[in-house]
């Protein structure tokens, strides 16, 4: 089919011309010599000459401006060079034939759509087939030889934003929707789509089939992401994901470059980016010529990767030469930053930047220069000549927290006193306890409480406060994904981690990769290093509990650690991660990670789009994990945590755990509490426990033998009236009122009264307030 008209004929340079009005879309004809520009007030054809654009034809004819000319999209037929189609904002689909002899080239007008038509698309090989997608939710297929559409496809949902015929499969086309779905259709079966999947949160503005790889579809959405999907398998799989800087309006694969695609944005950002999907953090190349948003991009020739045409709202039409593009990589300093589980911080940067000796102020900083192989974890990557990325050698610093010097057991007492175990709804309890743990500098416990709240709060009722805290939790090191901010071709890039916990998780990843620590670049993709510190995993690794938390404030990173360019600031793990994480307010914590992970074929987590941990998982789902966590805490000696969680969770978890084990925990905790003389807390715990054996601790020796304060004889019957002298025995010796509530009395003379009154009295006198002359003693 594709005649290899080899591209040597195309010459040119970066050039532009002014249009009279903002452009909405552009398209080139097959032989790459002409381009059509369409917009609300413009519809013209320009010739591409060696040294500039030449206006060839103005298709906007007639005196009265018709809305049919107001184009949202335009497409030049790739087989028939005289044929064009436009999508009008009023819902019309118009075809134009340049070979018509008169000035008005309009050939056919289809007004079947009720709303704006967003996209038209000719079949790549079939001359007379045209497809349109509209705001009204319908796609229509037209046969240009007929006056009406031949078939109508209903998306059953919201507006269609883009339709694209597959390059390789004759009958297939893809449609993207405003509600985030992408559907695959068979042109012969208008009754039902073949496949549907949710690609983005929010509208999917565009999609593009890979010109070479059958079944690869790139989609771009308002959520600022470009995703590449593999449709060739049974289950649609997300294979690459690029996080861009603004909503993605168009995406186009670069010809002859398997992994490259160009994007432009709909708002805010005016540049055109060319990405290597395998290196999703920094654009491979950038074109920065436009002064307003770019609305249309197209590669000039389908086999030439060096010419890109673009139209823009700033009323210019550009031809960009690839060699003139700016390469952000050249100006960037590769860096990586990651929080460890206990608040440690690892930071890797280019060696040349790290050369300054560690100053005295850097407490707990360890440095590992690049190329040092003594440490257990490092990466070594084979250079890949086809990737045009610079290679960088980086050095790693780990900022460790100091061991908590004021060890003691203060934290135990404080925690015991401040935890709330009952009296409030579950979510509030968890929240409170998380705060307590945090203020006592125990981030792991704090995070545990937060996780528990998320897991067990009712998803059906995403209350205001839940929302609130979910957002907040973005700040916690709850979900850390560590990724080397790559762009190095990384021959020498080595990353070392010295922390044991990190090693654990790394090893897990490495094993996933079927590789041991001597990882020698697996087809050039293993340069991302993930330390998946998500809390669920905490319990799986046996860690030393004694590694107490860090004070993050101690670590002032060198200023240059955060490159001030905005490209890098938008990286998901850069300092403003909230934006990305909060896109979908309802995601449970564990989902948030899938957004910032980047693809690695062998790493299964990644192909998961948000649905895996839907917020509707029953709480039961988490029980095994929670159980494991409780055991972990108990084993670490932190029986306090285990019991507190047990009480707060109550019935949610109780049945999962062995009764004897529970009893054992309770006993240990109560014992500890009593040693620290925390009688109130210990009593509360006993009261709240559900084990029979524990509860009866409270029932033992509950009798109190007392004497009447008047006649000094033992009181035999119940109540406070002495049956001998018929006086009320519980009169306060100071104020002479009957005491209700706390009553304190001297065991020597049986006189006593209100606690505060007696205390007050004893400050002044050692004698009994009743005047009996006894030198009272209170314990």
């Amino acid at each position: 089919m594709e005649k290899m008209t080899r591209v040597s004929t195309i010459n040119g340079r970066t050039m532009f011309c002014h249009l009279d009005a903002p452009a909405n879309a552009i398209s080139v004809c097959r032989d790459a010599t002409q381009v059509v520009v369409a917009g609300r007030n413009i519809f013209k054809i320009y010739g591409l000459e060696e040294d500039g654009f030449v206006e060839r034809l103005n298709l906007r004819v007639g005196r009265k401006p018709s809305l049919n000319f107001s184009c949202a999209d335009v497409m030049w037929h790739q087989m028939e060079e005289n044929l064009l189609a436009t999508a009008a904002t009023n819902g019309a689909v118009v075809t134009w034939n340049l070979s018509r002899p008169c000035r008005n080239k309009q050939e056919q007008l289809f007004t079947e759509h009720k709303r704006t038509v967003n996209k038209v698309c000719f079949h790549p090989t079939e001359v007379n087939m045209l497809l349109s997608g509209s705001q009204d939710g319908f796609m229509k297929c037209f046969d240009l030889r007929k006056k009406e559409s031949v078939s109508t496809f209903s998306g059953q949902s919201e507006s269609v934003r883009d339709v694209q015929f597959s390059m390789k499969d004759y009958f297939t086309f893809a449609a993207s929707f405003e509600n985030g779905n992408v559907q695959l259709w068979d042109i012969r079966r208008p009754d039902r789509y073949e496949r549907m999947f949710t690609a983005h949160t929010g509208p999917v503005f565009c999609c593009d089939w890979h010109p070479e790889d059958r079944g690869w579809l790139a989609t771009g959405g308002r959520d600022k992401m470009v995703k590449v999907w593999d449709m060739s398998t049974n289950r649609v799989k997300e294979i690459y994901c690029v996080q861009t800087f603004a909503s993605v309006a168009r995406v186009k694969w670069r010809p002859e470059r398997r992994y490259h695609l160009a994007t432009c944005s709909m708002m805010v950002d005016h540049n055109i980016y060319v990405w290597d999907v395998r290196r999703p953090f920094i654009p491979f190349a950038t074109f920065e010529e436009h002064k307003d948003v770019t609305t249309g991009i197209v590669w000039r020739h389908q086999h030439d990767p060096y010419f890109l045409l673009s139209g823009s709202k700033d009323s210019t039409l550009y031809q960009h030469m690839f060699k003139d593009a700016s390469r952000p990589v050249d100006r960037a300093n590769p860096e990586g930053l990651c929080f460890g589980l206990f608040g440690d911080l690892a930071f890797a940067a280019k060696e040349s930047l790290m050369s300054a000796p560690a100053s005295a102020g850097d407490v707990g900083r360890k440095t590992y220069p690049g190329g040092d192989r003594r440490y257990p974890i490092f990466f070594f990557k084979k250079p890949d000549v086809t990737e045009q990325f610079a290679q960088v050698s980086s050095a790693l610093s780990v900022f460790e927290s100091e061991a908590d010097s004021s060890a003691g057991m203060d934290w135990f007492i404080n925690t015991a006193q401040s935890y709330l175990l009952s009296g409030k709804p579950f979510a509030e309890l968890c929240e409170h306890n998380a705060h307590v743990a945090k203020s006592l500098n125990r981030p792991q416990e704090s995070t545990t409480w937060t996780m528990l709240r998320i897991m067990f709060s009712e998803p059906a009722n995403p209350s205001l406060s839940t929302n609130h805290n979910l957002n907040k939790s973005g700040n916690l090191p709850l979900v850390n994904s560590f990724s080397m901010k790559e762009m190095s071709g990384a021959l020498n890039e080595r990353n070392k981690e010295n922390r044991q916990d990190n090693i654990h998780s790394l090893e897990t990843n490495l094993n996933n990769n079927d590789e041991n620590e001597e990882t020698e670049g697996s087809e050039g993709q293993a340069e991302y290093l993930f330390v998946d510190d998500e809390l669920d995993d905490d319990e799986l690794y046996s860690m030393e509990h004694d590694n107490q938390p860090a004070e993050e404030s101690e670590y002032l990173l060198p200023q240059e650690a955060f490159p001030l360019r905005h490209e890098i600031m938008d990286h998901p793990s850069a300092p403003e991660p909230l934006q990305e994480k909060q896109e979908s307010p309802h995601v449970s914590g564990s989902e948030a990670e899938s957004m910032c992970l980047t693809p690695m074929e062998s790493f299964s987590l990644i192909s998961v789009s948000q649905q895996l941990f839907s917020p509707h998982l029953p709480p039961k789902f988490f029980c095994p994990i929670v159980k494991e966590m409780l055991c972990y805490y108990a084993e670490q000696g932190d029986v306090q945590m285990a019991v507190s969680v047990l009480i707060v969770l109550g019935d949610r978890i109780r049945k999962e755990i062995d009764e004897l084990m529970q009893e054992h925990w309770y006993m240990s905790y109560i014992d500890l509490l009593q040693r620290f003389e925390l009688w109130n807390v210990s009593n509360e715990v006993i009261k709240l426990s559900t084990c029979g054996a524990i509860m009866c601790l409270n029932q033992a020796s509950t009798t109190l033998h007392i004497n009447c304060s008047n006649c000094k004889r033992p009181m035999s019957n119940k109540g406070w009236i002495c049956d001998r002298c018929h006086q009320c025995a519980s009169v306060c010796a100071v104020c002479h009122h009957v005491v209700k509530g706390l009553f304190v009395w001297c065991q020597g003379c049986s006189h006593g009264g209100h606690l505060e009154h007696v205390m007050e009295w004893l400050k002044q006198s050692k004698h009994c307030p009743a005047g009996c002359g006894h030198l009272c003693e209170y314990t």
């Binding site: 609300r40 107001s70 709303r115 704006t116 909503s247 934006q579």
Partner: protein
């Protein structure tokens, strides 16, 4: 009155845990008794006259307390608290202290609290009283109560549409309480400014309280000139946005952003713009539904014994004559069959759409005609309504009002939705500068636009999308926003004149809404449906204002 202290006291009542509510209730009871005791044993109001100054402050304290208890007895979503409050009030009355009673009946003047009981359709079984609610509404109310410690009348009226209410409350909560570029008291102050622009006493009072509670400087409340320069600068934006948003240019934005030490940051500005538009449209809703003052605020309750004469205080405060009530029912009889006619028209439009294809010019003129016609829809009372002094101090230039979009002479270009729409453009801008908020707004707009129960008055299974779209587009048309793919002839078919009057009044000068207007459109429709219409109007208005503001900001940025 020490607002903060008082607030702390009520907090525990909003807990979901019954026992802690109980404890809090206990405390309040003690507090009340203590107050009563401290005033002195003077059950007989005639004879005793203790030192007057002392007594005044004490008794006003007590009264505020009692008013709050009264509010709880009516509005608290928890049954136990309501009962206890009623008991408490009863006890207090038995002691001989005057207790307050609510003014007016129910959260809205237009919607009778009682009448709604009688209707038996499932939709309307959610009534305007907190006592009988379905589960969903109940839980939303509980959430709202937990966050705010009160259930305002706006939420109660919106309770007709729980799905929307939920989204509304979430958005408002995020806007006022969550992380954002502006400090808390600034947010409330901007809310006050915006509501004052429409002389909405209800919202102003609500936020004056909140403003003080979060530690705002009471001096600011004396008038805009006492507020910091930075906020003063916002006055201009407030004015234009409220009345003629299409006049907003990037120069306005530039003036705000480049004012040396008083300049705004982009993120702050977006936050402020959202706040302004939110409260402008909420003011529309407040007037449109005739929201009465909350029971515990001034004007929401009275200590006077009930008497037959006299209008509700709130009616006068809001500038609406209460005498409207008497004329209200006159025209009811003549309008039977209105619904059927409307449905018939909708069906016709649906059917004949394919046959009669209007030409392009025809479509263009239809928009222009609708545009000019909406100008001719004159709001009934055109006399200058002078804003009451205490509200107008929050803004400048009180004479500035809505002016029709298409006046002869000055031609402002139409905004085409296809060139600047919320979904494609506005959303991204908001989300970029005020993280996450775009998502919330987007959800709210969608829910408002798509909300339907497929009913019309007594008819079931009606597709109302056409009607909803006509209303939405009509409002946008009034603001000069055009949809290329919409046939504006439909509006004329579907919206009759009295409805258009109502829409225009509500959107452009909501303070002029009267009960008569509310009653004279769509007479056979249910109140819940009218509230639904109000929601549509409110959201459409908010979106229109936002579009202009965001477009100006975008233009400034490029």
């Amino acid at each position: 009155m020490d607002v903060r202290d008082a607030a702390g006291r009520w907090d525990a009542l909003s807990s979901r845990d019954a026992s802690s509510r109980n404890a809090a209730m206990e405390l309040i009871q003690q507090e009340v008794i203590k107050k009563i005791e401290s005033i002195g044993p003077m059950p007989d109001p005639q004879c005793s006259s203790p030192p007057p100054t002392m007594d005044d402050s004490l008794s006003s304290d007590l009264n505020a307390l009692l008013a709050h208890v009264l509010m709880l007895s009516k509005r608290c979503p928890y049954e136990d608290v309501r009962e206890k409050c009623i008991c408490l009030l009863q006890r207090v009355q038995d002691v001989g202290v005057r207790i307050p009673r609510p003014v007016g009946n129910g959260p809205s003047r237009f919607i009778p609290e009682k009448e709604v009981h009688r209707v038996s359709t499932p939709l309307l079984s959610q009534i305007l009283q907190v006592s009988k609610l379905d589960e969903r509404t109940q839980s939303i109310f509980e959430d709202a109560f937990a966050v705010l410690g009160r259930l305002d009348n706006i939420s109660l009226v919106m309770g007709f549409h729980p799905q929307y209410l939920e989204s509304f409350l979430r958005t408002q909560h995020y806007l006022l309480q969550m992380d954002g570029p502006l400090s808390l008291h600034c947010r409330h102050y901007i809310g006050i400014m915006a509501a004052a622009r429409h002389q909405c006493t209800y919202l102003v009072n609500l936020h004056v309280n909140d403003f003080l509670q979060v530690g705002g400087d009471p001096k600011w409340l004396n008038g805009l000139e006492e507020a910091p320069r930075k906020l003063q600068a916002l006055g201009e934006l407030n004015k234009i946005l409220a009345h003629r948003p299409w006049l907003l240019t990037k120069e306005h934005i530039e003036r705000l952003l480049k004012a040396e030490e008083h300049s705004w940051s982009l993120a702050e500005l977006i936050h402020a713009v959202v706040l302004l538009t939110h409260y402008h449209s909420l003011a529309s809703f407040t007037f449109g539904c005739g929201i009465t003052p909350d029971i515990h605020t001034d004007g929401g309750h009275t200590f006077r014994p009930p008497s037959l004469s006299g209008y509700c205080v709130c009616d006068i405060a809001n500038g609406n004559g209460a005498q409207e009530d008497m004329f209200g029912n006159q025209q009811v009889s003549e309008s039977s069959g209105e619904v059927e006619v409307l449905m018939e028209r909708m069906k016709q439009l649906q059917e004949c759409r394919d046959e009669e294809e209007a030409s392009q010019e025809e479509m263009a003129t239809r928009f222009e005609r609708e545009k000019t016609e909406c100008m001719l829809v004159v709001t009934s009372e055109d006399e200058e309504c002078v804003p009451s002094r205490d509200v107008s101090r929050h803004f400048e230039d009180p004479s500035y009002g809505y002016k029709d979009f298409s006046r002869r002479g000055e031609h402002v270009p139409t905004l085409r939705v296809q060139d600047y729409s919320w979904e494609d453009h506005g959303f991204s801008l908001v989300n970029r500068l005020y993280s996450d908020f775009g998502q919330l707004l987007d959800e709210k707009f969608q829910i408002a636009f798509n909300l339907t129960y497929n009913t019309m008055a007594t008819h079931q299974g009606v597709d109302t999308s056409m009607l909803r779209r006509a209303i939405w587009n009509y409002i946008h048309c009034m603001f000069g926003i055009r949809y290329d793919d919409y046939d504006y002839g439909e509006i004329n078919q579907l919206l009759d004149r009295s409805f258009k009057v109502y829409i225009k009044t509500m959107v452009c000068s909501p303070e002029k809404i009267t009960k008569r207007m509310y009653e004279s459109f769509w007479r056979q429709f249910r109140h819940s449906e009218k509230v639904h219409v109000n929601l549509l109007l409110m959201e459409a208005r908010m979106q229109a204002e936002l579009l202009y503001a965001l477009r100006a900001i975008t233009r400034y940025m490029t």
